[in-house]
């Protein structure tokens, strides 16, 4: 996946790109209003960050404690070192229950593990029960945003899709009408599912319980009707104390959508009588990221999506342009840890403007980590400054600018540039921009004449 190409393709439809930008800016704006209602906002961010930093510094201790408590509560705990093992564990549970169809509420982790295609290959039908996720599932697409999975689609497209899949009236684009149709469709799935899968927003070491947040109520509709609840949880989702939820739940929804809290914040401690809760603790690259001191703090992420909504790149290139499960700024610092080569363009899909860092409710220094990944990627890819000079020559420093700047200044750093590169025909700078006019003399020349 190459971000610049994908972004350019997204921008071809200018009206749509601009709509996408405005829609997400509107969410960012709501987040501003909600956060500014709380005088203690910055204190909460600091607390959240410190709690997560602390937890990550003792993660082994808290995981064991969490497991111990969860077991006491009657939750069955599984450990998966990677996506494959996670998927196998899920499959085994399903097979032991002879389950052929399940409902699943939003879980970025199961996206990361590509659980759906795996289960489908094994003959199990998965129904994503979050409306946005159901929409993209119908289209065989992944979510384009971690909180707003179908944010890239227009209601006209959804109306056409629902007409085809759910038999809604042709041309009826009313969101209320379409949501209602999905409600009826999903209700039937909830009533018949033996197993329900959810993600986990927070796991509490002190009590062995876990919390799942939704607005639609789809997670609860699934698990409270099913015989088995499988909760998939990344190991970084642990927090030490129940009261820490006060900090995180105050930040999460306000950062995500500008709501003061999600409609439902469900706390699961033990299964219903005669039923089962399975909790799968998944590593899948997390301990590796934990070992990288520069990027460790990326594991503080609570998946609110605020960095996506604020990112001027994300808003104008769409989630798919990243080609990673988690798109946007946070995805661009997580993904290179999973596959440096595959995601090599992501840390460069940023102007390092820093808005992501300032908006982050757990104070991850995202833009600084983007900068750090750039240093590693150029090294790992064996790129050199010389190659940069080629890129520069193709673009910004072409023509007069190239002659002057490359010739006179960059030369010091990059040794010399061959003239054929300086005068490269592809002038990327000039494609949409005029070049500055070259003045009669440089400032250095003027200074020597007038001041020395």
């Amino acid at each position: 996946m190459n971000h610049p190409q994908a972004a350019a393709a997204f921008l071809k439809d200018q009206a749509r790109a601009s709509w996408h930008d405005e829609t997400l800016w509107y969410v960012r704006d709501k987040r501003d209003v909600a956060s500014k209602r709380l005088p203690e906002w910055e204190d909460l961010r600091t607390l959240a960050s410190d709690i997560k930093e602390h937890t990550l510094s003792q993660l082994d201790y808290y995981l064991e404690k969490f497991e111990e408590k969860a077991l006491e509560n009657g939750i069955r705990v599984h450990w998966a070192k990677d996506a494959e093992e996670h998927n196998q564990i899920v499959l085994q549970i399903l097979q032991s229950k002879e389950c052929k169809a399940l409902v699943k509420s939003k879980s970025i982790l199961t996206e990361e593990c590509h659980l759906n295609p795996f289960l489908e290959k094994n003959g199990i039908a998965v129904v994503d029960s979050d409306l946005g996720e159901r929409i993209v599932q119908f289209l065989n697409q992944p979510p384009s945003h971690i909180v707003l999975p179908a944010i890239h689609l227009k209601k006209k497209e959804i109306a056409e899709l629902f007409h085809e899949k759910l038999g809604t009236e042709k041309g009826n684009e009313d969101p209320k009408y379409l949501t209602d149709a999905a409600r009826i469709h999903l209700r039937e799935k909830f009533l018949s599912a033996k197993v329900a899968i959810t993600g986990v927003n927070f796991g509490i070491a002190e009590t062995g319980e876990f919390v799942v947040c939704t607005n639609e109520g789809n997670a609860d509709m699934g698990v409270h009707l099913a015989e088995v609840h499988i909760a998939c949880m990344g190991i970084e989702k642990i927090i030490p104390r129940r009261k820490d939820l006060g900090v995180f739940l105050r930040l999460l929804a306000r950062s995500a959508t500008g709501q003061s809290i999600t409609t439902y914040s469900s706390h699961f401690r033990s299964p219903r009588k005669g039923k089962e809760i399975h909790l799968i603790l998944v590593d899948n690259g997390r301990t590796a990221q934990l070992s990288r001191s520069t990027y460790r703090s990326s594991l503080k992420c609570i998946r609110c999506g605020a960095c996506m909504n604020t990112c001027p790149i994300y808003r104008r290139s769409g989630g798919f342009s990243y080609g990673s499960t988690v798109p946007g700024p946070i995805g661009s610092i997580l993904s290179p840890g999973l596959d440096l080569k595959k995601y090599s363009t992501l840390p460069f899909a940023s102007t390092l403007c820093g808005s992501c860092t300032d908006v982050c409710p757990v104070k991850i220094n995202i833009h600084e980590q983007l900068y750090a990944w750039r240093q590693e990627i150029t090294k790992a890819q064996g790129w050199s400054g010389k190659e940069l000079s080629i890129k520069l020559a193709k673009g910004i420093f072409t023509s007069p600018l190239a002659y002057r700047v490359s010739g006179k200044i960059l030369r010091a750093a990059l040794k010399s540039l061959p003239n054929s590169l300086i005068y490269h025909p592809v002038n990327l700078w000039g494609k949409g921009r005029d070049l500055p006019q070259a003045p009669a003399s440089t400032f250095s020349e003027w200074y020597q004449k007038n001041r020395s």
């Binding site: 350019a8 956060s35 790149i313 808005s355 240093q375 200074y447």
Partner: protein
Amino acid sequence: MNARSPHIGLFIPCYMDQFYPQVAQASLELLEKLGCQVSYPLGQTCCGQPLANAGYERDTLALTKHFVNLFKEVEYIVAPTGSCVLHVKSHFPEVMGLEAELEKTQAKIYELTEFLTDVLQLTSIKGKFPHKVGFHASCHGLRGLRLSSSSELQEPSFHKAKLLLDQLEGLEWVPLSRPDECCGFGGTFAVSEEALSVCMGKDRILDHERNGAEILTGVDMSCLMHLQGIGSRSGSKLRYLHLAEILNQALA
């Protein structure tokens, strides 16, 4: 203003030296008008920012060494750019044997407006500039150097450039719909993500135009070069001036 005039070494970004000598000149004259003793150490090179942001910080060692040595003698380094100053402060690589000097360099370098508001503490500039001015808050100055409060944070509102411009008679500050959105320059981003970069620039220009700006100003000429390039291509009427030019003209 301090009774003693501080000795300033003026740092001019490479592209400014080459393409915007008038901005460099305005910065120099402005500081001189304000009673500073300013010198421009000759032999300045690029600070290394474009390389470092592109992932080649390790290749900027020589430039860093050169920079530190060049400005050894001055009390302050002042530069009419936020992003280069941020680079010096945050991304200069460690240089063996030059650690102490490097630290001093990082402590004494100021972006022009912060020098005017924080060191010189200008509160009563006498000058006129009867124009509607939109301010582009370049990101590195905004969120790196904290030249103004950022819209994401809950903090008391402050704005160093506005503090200065508000002192000018007749200047009308144009509020923007998105007061601190990035313009899309981003160094090599401008070419590596050309389509996005231009789109972001267009959106910024539109915001200024819609809100009635007649002049777009800022403290980073690189962002302005990018915006001006797009504006000029699309036939926009907006004019572009660096903040130093406005202040210098107003004080004339």
